[in-house]
């Protein structure tokens, strides 16, 4: 018989099939598999099964379930933030040291013009070094810790616990996992949405992932929380107040995720909350080498590589902006002044907006870029070394108020995804439409919220 004959025959036979024949096929496959398994596998008394059940009862119980979840999340974030601090300094010293050597070498050659040296070492290289030193350490801690919980089998239980909330907003319980991943990096969070098998819910998870602040945005939040909020508390409490403020901002972000999911599932992504099936695998002892491989190779290196591709050009642009003189100032300052009225309207200022425009490739460089413009420097720099000096520079030197600090935190939380994340959204959805929507939606939320808080604060005379 020819292939076409067979197809024709199948076509004609198909009409005689009963509607449930697919169910029958699967059923017979399972029966066969069960028979094989019965011959090959002996089932004895299973102690591990009882233990698993006990653990499951505990982690999903009404009283212990939520606290356990919050405590674990708290521990991971605390580990990441405090551990990264130490590592960041070490890496920064090392990389900036290399930069100094390179610059000195270029200078000692004598024939290389200053602007080539500046462009390469204070622009491109500094951008790269800065992003690596701020980004790498938290990821090196966060991703293994996250992968540990994943490997342990705990994460599906989180999805199980929180699903009712997501169901209410028309989303999928597994979105809680992609959000948790978002703390590490939003681009990784977007990739992680592959675990959500229904397209509508997956798109919701992709589009809202950015409302979870990633590692790269933590430095901004921590700096503001320490300098502005914690400063009015006794020194012993500083770190706790700062941490509490950051947690508060994170919770606002979570609230926005739910709000955005709810709005999306009633507008552009209309539809029922759909099939929710979630496997809760048995707990198992985490496999350290697999954890290291997944977290370092698949996640950290992947994200870092994408970030480096965008950080280098950003470093170049920043340097150019800071080194093209206009009058007795530079181009960066001029653009910031031009943006200033709009910035003030949002309770921010022109420099902040400029920093966020340049920092689209990587949020890690927002603070150093701001400091660069405020201090009139020719390259990205750390701010003053003490909190009091930073406070003085921002408030007395550049007219910041409490409103500026609060709104910058909100803006850092809500604003558009970084270039890496936008590209990842495009790659995951294969559509510029969704990538654009993710930018428009977040930016719209950021403008709306900061404008509202600024207007309210001014109305009541707070700012």
């Amino acid at each position: 018989m020819e292939a076409n004959d067979i197809l024709a025959k199948a076509e004609s036979l198909r009409n005689n099939l009963s509607t449930g024949f697919r169910d029958e096929i699967v059923k017979s496959l399972y029966t066969e598999a069960e028979q094989i398994a019965r011959r090959a596998v002996k089932v004895g008394v299973n102690k591990k099964y009882d233990f698993d059940q006990k653990v499951d009862r505990l982690v999903t119980s009404p009283y212990a379930g939520l606290p356990i979840m919050l405590i674990l999340l708290g521990i991971i974030i605390w580990l990441t933030v405090s551990g990264a601090n130490v590592l960041s300094d070490t890496i920064a010293n090392l990389l900036f040291g290399i930069g100094d050597i390179g610059r000195n070498f270029f200078n000692s050659l004598g024939f290389i013009p200053w602007w080539i040296t500046g462009f390469i070492w204070d622009g491109v290289y500094l951008g790269l070094a800065w992003v690596i030193s701020v980004m790498l350490p938290p990821m090196m801690i966060f991703f293994p810790a996250f992968t540990f919980l994943e490997d342990l089998g705990y994460l599906p239980r989180v999805a199980f616990n929180l699903d009712w909330l997501f169901k209410k907003t028309g989303a999928h319980g597994k979105q809680s996992l992609t959000m948790a991943m978002g703390f590490g990096c939003n681009a990784a969070g977007v990739v992680a949405t592959r675990v959500i098998d229904s397209p509508r819910e997956r798109l919701i998870a992709i589009l809202t992932n950015n409302f979870v602040p990633c590692n790269g945005r933590f430095p901004t939040l921590i700096m503001l929380a320490t300098v502005f909020v914690a400063a009015s508390f006794p020194p012993a409490l500083t770190s706790f107040v700062a941490a509490g403020t950051v947690v508060g901002v994170v919770l606002i972000g979570v609230a926005f995720t739910f709000l955005a999911s709810w709005i999306l599932s009633r507008t552009v992504l209309k539809g029922e909350a759909s099939a929710f099936t979630l496997e809760l695998p048995p707990y198992r002892r985490p496999n350290i080498s697999r954890i290291l491989y997944t977290s370092i190779i698949d996640r950290t290196i992947f994200v870092l590589w994408r970030a480096m591709q965008t950080a280098a050009p950003a470093g170049a642009i920043i340097w150019i902006l800071a080194n093209i003189p206009i009058g007795d100032s530079n181009l960066a300052r001029a653009i910031a002044d031009w943006l200033n009225p709009f910035g003030l309207m949002l309770g921010l200022d022109g420099v902040i907006l400029l920093a966020y425009i340049i920092a689209i490739p990587a949020n890690e460089i927002v603070v150093p870029t701001m400091m660069m413009v405020y201090l009139g420097a020719g390259m990205m720099i750390d701010g003053p070394s003490t909190n009091a000096a930073i406070f003085d520079l921002l408030v007395n030197g550049n007219g910041w108020t409490m409103l500026t600090a609060v709104n910058l935190m909100l803006f850092a939380l809500l604003h558009n995804p970084c270039a890496t994340t936008i590209i990842t959204i495009y790659k995951e959805t294969k559509s510029w439409k969704w990538a654009t929507l993710s930018v428009v939606m977040t930016l719209g939320a950021a403008f709306l919220v900061t404008f509202t808080t600024a207007s309210i604060a001014r109305l009541f005379g707070w700012a």
Partner: protein, 338 residues
């Protein structure tokens, strides 16, 4: 402005208007053409629908169905006659065989789209008709065959209407309107008419759904009273006429003795009898992949503290299902051997 810039502006404007394919005029023309084609196709559907119900369409009924003025409808009828799609005899319009073939294509597209929107995109039932109405005009025969294959060659649309086969035959619609059903005993809802939309929304709002097993409790000229064993439904006869029912097939009788997985108590064990017919496409595949096949023993093991979802033990694996998913799996409680 200088004269030169005026000239440039005018030239640019002319180009924007007259550029082939992307110019304003071309875009408007292709918009008009596609609009006309859609009107013709909607007219075909109307004629076909009338003939299915043993009546012939008239220019008046067509004007009503398309919601267009008489003059426009007359023009459409003339166009369709020259294309050989219909014959008009006085006030009666009849499809030619070519017209019928095209009408079947549109009906097939509409119903396959409805199936897709329900099974794969999982749109709510009251939204799919208008969405399918928009999409039915866009597919070629080959694309439609692909869609058909991707959906697994479904035979009924989500309202219970038969879907024409690729050979162009339309299986007979089953069921009797609720108002005409006389026999006693449990019956099954096999069709919910989606037009008019208002009546359809009332049916859905009452909580009736396709595949549901019901019993007629009482009928009077003012209302028909139904029950599914738990809830009582009250329908006006005009609305009830849009619900078609049939005798229970064998699987339904099995289902009648079963309860849904969602109703299974925490300490009960159940044997899966059948997956509800309302679950199709993506969700059904997922259920089968997870091993929720008939004959499987299943029992609830873990309760979320908000009551939903609940996790069930199946073949040694723990699987969480939301309540509305669990409600689509029919089980028979079995004795616990302790």
């Amino acid at each position: 402005m200088t004269p030169l810039s005026w000239i440039i502006l005018v030239i640019a404007l002319l180009i924007a208007i007259f550029l082939p394919r992307v110019g304003g005029l071309a875009v408007y023309k292709s918009y008009r053409a596609s609009q006309e084609r859609e009107q013709v196709e909607d007219a075909l559907k109307h004629l076909f629908d009338r003939e299915q119900h043993g009546r012939l369409a008239s220019p008046e009924s067509l004007a009503g169905a398309l919601d267009l003025p008489r003059g426009r409808v007359t023009k459409i009828i003339e166009d369709m006659e020259t294309q050989g799609l219909l014959e008009s005899r006085g006030a009666q319009l009849r499809l030619t065989s070519q017209g019928e073939r095209l009408a079947l294509h549109i009906v097939r597209a509409h119903r396959l789209w409805e199936r897709y929107l329900t099974d794969e995109a999982r749109m709510p039932l009251e939204k799919i008709h208008s969405e399918a109405q928009r999409r039915e005009h866009s597919l070629t025969e080959a694309e439609l065959n692909d869609l058909d294959a991707a959906l697994g060659h479904p035979t009924r649309d989500p309202h219970g209407d038969p879907i024409p086969t690729r050979e162009g035959t339309l299986p007979k619609a089953e069921g009797t309107p609720l108002t005409a059903w006389q026999a006693e005993g449990p019956i099954r809802i096999v069709h919910l008419e989606d037009e008019p939309a208002l009546a359809f929304e009332q049916i859905l709002a009452a909580g009736l759904r396709l595949g549901q097993t019901i019993r007629i409790l009482d009928r009077s000229p003012k209302r028909i009273l139904l029950t599914d064993g738990e809830t009582e439904y009250r329908l006006a006869p005009a609305v009830a006429a849009n619900v078609s029912v049939a005798a229970l097939p064998a699987s339904e009788i099995e289902k009648a003795n079963a309860i849904s997985l969602a109703e299974l108590k925490d300490n009960q064990r159940g044997e899966i009898v059948i997956l509800d017919e309302a679950v199709q496409g993506f969700t059904r595949r997922r259920f089968l992949d997870l091993g929720l096949t008939p004959g499987t023993i299943i029992h609830p093991e873990l309760q979320n503290f908000f009551g939903d979802p609940r996790a069930y033990r199946v073949r040694g694996t723990l699987i969480a299902l939301r309540k509305d998913q669990a409600a689509q799996v029919w089980v028979k409680p079995v004795q616990v051997d302790t």
